[in-house]
Symmetry: C2
Subunit: 454 residues, 2 copies
Amino acid sequence: MTIAHDAFDRHVEERLPAWLEELAAFCRIPSEASNREALGEAAAWIADRLRRLGARVEVLEREGAASLVIGEIGEGRTLLAVQHYDVQPAEPLELWTSPPYAPQVRDGRFYARGANDNKGELLARIWAVEAYVATVGALPCRLRFLVEGEEEGGGANLGLYLDANPWIREADAALIEGGDIDVDGRPRITSGVRGMASLQLSVRTLAYDAHSSMAMLVPNAAVRMAQALATLWDDEGLPAVAGLDEGVTAPTDAQLAVLATVPESDTDGLLEVYGVERFLGGRSGRAALRALTFEPTLNVQGLWSGYTGPGGNTITPAEAHARLDIRLVPDQQPEAMERAVRAHLDAHGFGDVAVSVFDYQYPAWWTPPGHPLVQAAIRVSEAVLGQPVVQQLSGPGTAPMSVICAAHDLPTTSLGGTDDEGRAHAPDEGIRLDYLAAAVRMTGRFVDEFAAIP
Amino acid sequence: MTIAHDAFDRHVEERLPAWLEELAAFCRIPSEASNREALGEAAAWIADRLRRLGARVEVLEREGAASLVIGEIGEGRTLLAVQHYDVQPAEPLELWTSPPYAPQVRDGRFYARGANDNKGELLARIWAVEAYVATVGALPCRLRFLVEGEEEGGGANLGLYLDANPWIREADAALIEGGDIDVDGRPRITSGVRGMASLQLSVRTLAYDAHSSMAMLVPNAAVRMAQALATLWDDEGLPAVAGLDEGVTAPTDAQLAVLATVPESDTDGLLEVYGVERFLGGRSGRAALRALTFEPTLNVQGLWSGYTGPGGNTITPAEAHARLDIRLVPDQQPEAMERAVRAHLDAHGFGDVAVSVFDYQYPAWWTPPGHPLVQAAIRVSEAVLGQPVVQQLSGPGTAPMSVICAAHDLPTTSLGGTDDEGRAHAPDEGIRLDYLAAAVRMTGRFVDEFAAIP
């Protein structure tokens, strides 16, 4: 039994006002990482909501971790919906038109912290199930909501939860937390995410900061760090670390065919956005797009040593630190990046510079662009929005899809209704009401498509 | 007429309890740079105190600057006493045994912020004049107190005040703000201070921070800064900037003879203090001491770029900054250092890295170690403390003596009673009561010696 689109869509239209009240209630909970009470409240709220949907719910707990809420409904082939109830901090508050935790609808958009990332998309999928059950009957597949509370922090707890409860990973496919719609109204279907290696470099040259009158005699940690860091890139600013490409697989013909559909201007337009004359290595057009898609990065996100406050302070710093993030492509392993940077520093005479992991690490997870799951997402998105899909091999960002999908080699795709003006992570985050309804309709159609995959 | 040492010293002994009450009153004023009201109160307090001494007082004002208090007493040859009424911030407050602005005497030491640097030394010189007038009569010279309120910040206002009031500089010699006594009770007579060039390097590679998923295409400011900085030192960590030694004069025989009196262990002992195996360039003993005395420094005091807070934040930084302090020796000019660094960066392909002055700049100011003024300070210090002097060509730190002395080529020397355990700039700053009395006695004897210089 598949949905009758008219009946389903009418139900969505009728219910939307009540649903928005529900989204407002969820978004009033300031579930930022620093607010443990609000995180607990948000976990309880979504567990209760899933129970009201008719789902079998488990709230998993770990010492020191936010709860992981699992809600499962339906029988048959299993689709994981990967979601989260935590939100980015709302600061700077003064840049919000309406307060972040006092939701408001203006000009067809619902504004609140979390409206876009990820409370709106999460509820849209729950509403889709509700509408399906109301207008069709039992789901044609099993939908397992995996709703975590530490997505924005990206810690190790998700993997630990799943290792301790391996049944959660037993599924046939996974939906990325939402989906994009570009400024022209074209759905963007993304079937992969990058991985991440997070390395901190640290060096100590002195027992403690010296008065800088000693600078002609004692080693300066800032100088040592600058000299070590400088060797990690060539004069063009391109990575010069042997082994940084370890594990990188060559693009497939199918991937290259997808890439060929993206206009070059999409990448070259970024020159103007960032106010730069040329990309690193002088690349442009297709070459830049290819690098953006298939090359790992080696990025300094922060560098610090000594006194950095107002005025001056004449010290010779004892310590210096730099944080590197390395965005991985298939099939690179984060541990190999740590080894490569370590070996590079040793080979260049910087054995005194320590390398450690400072934040989350996981491999990339890409699904072949022609996979039936991805094609199903493309079909339902085009059908609901009436616009051709823009296909993307991988989002620019990272997400722990490999932590969820690798054990059983689950294919994955994006699907949803957030748009490029939705300001995720920024002030005035919001979601368009029509796209929120579209997300519900896409998901309703998608469960039928998913159940029918041969 | 010269002082009768017994009568003078008895007067000091009798008056000391009352003087300590006075020092306590002065030290209760929290005249930190950030507290404009307290700065004004301290300026008024010291102006009033100088008036009560019988000095002719002028309180000079400049828009946006702390007042400069000038107090002059006596006739004849003119000695400038270079002092200040501002103090370093008292933070961290929790490390003080008694509160910084609630003075307390414990175990023969007077504790308060400013007790050592410079309120104690300033009052000791005023008390010396008072004792001289009480026990001898009119001063045999003119003593001109120059008491500034921005010494700890080291800004440009002192030079501007003096340029506008050139009569202040018209003198015959200048006393540095105080004098040291080492842990063995030996007076340390210092006849010079280093100069300073303060340069900030800044680079911008992007209009604003990029998401680090763009890192394979857009230039990273932290990388650029690391690569530029790395070229400023060689692999040993020694400066590699041509022209950094511009203006450096060769040591004189008299200077080398003074240096030969310093035990090598004084310098080599610093290896253990700082936990380093060797000094830069493998120097030790006499070579290290010579470098410490005669070499300019090139120091990074602070380096920063991108996100440096807790956790991580995946950005590609648009800006990076480094602050350099360069401690100058005679006869280097700060402006030449800026030119040398600029030329170095240009020659190494870093024309995009901007160089600017971020803090105070002035040349060094050294008086020949055999100068009669210095020899007079040595004689009175040895006489009062009964210990041989340790002579030092220049303090390791900087002070704007050249701003005061260069116009009329004034000789300068230290003289006073702060000790190596006095914790200037740190919690539990204090001054020993016996050394405070010794400073008064030294100064009383010194005015006679100064008046008698042929």
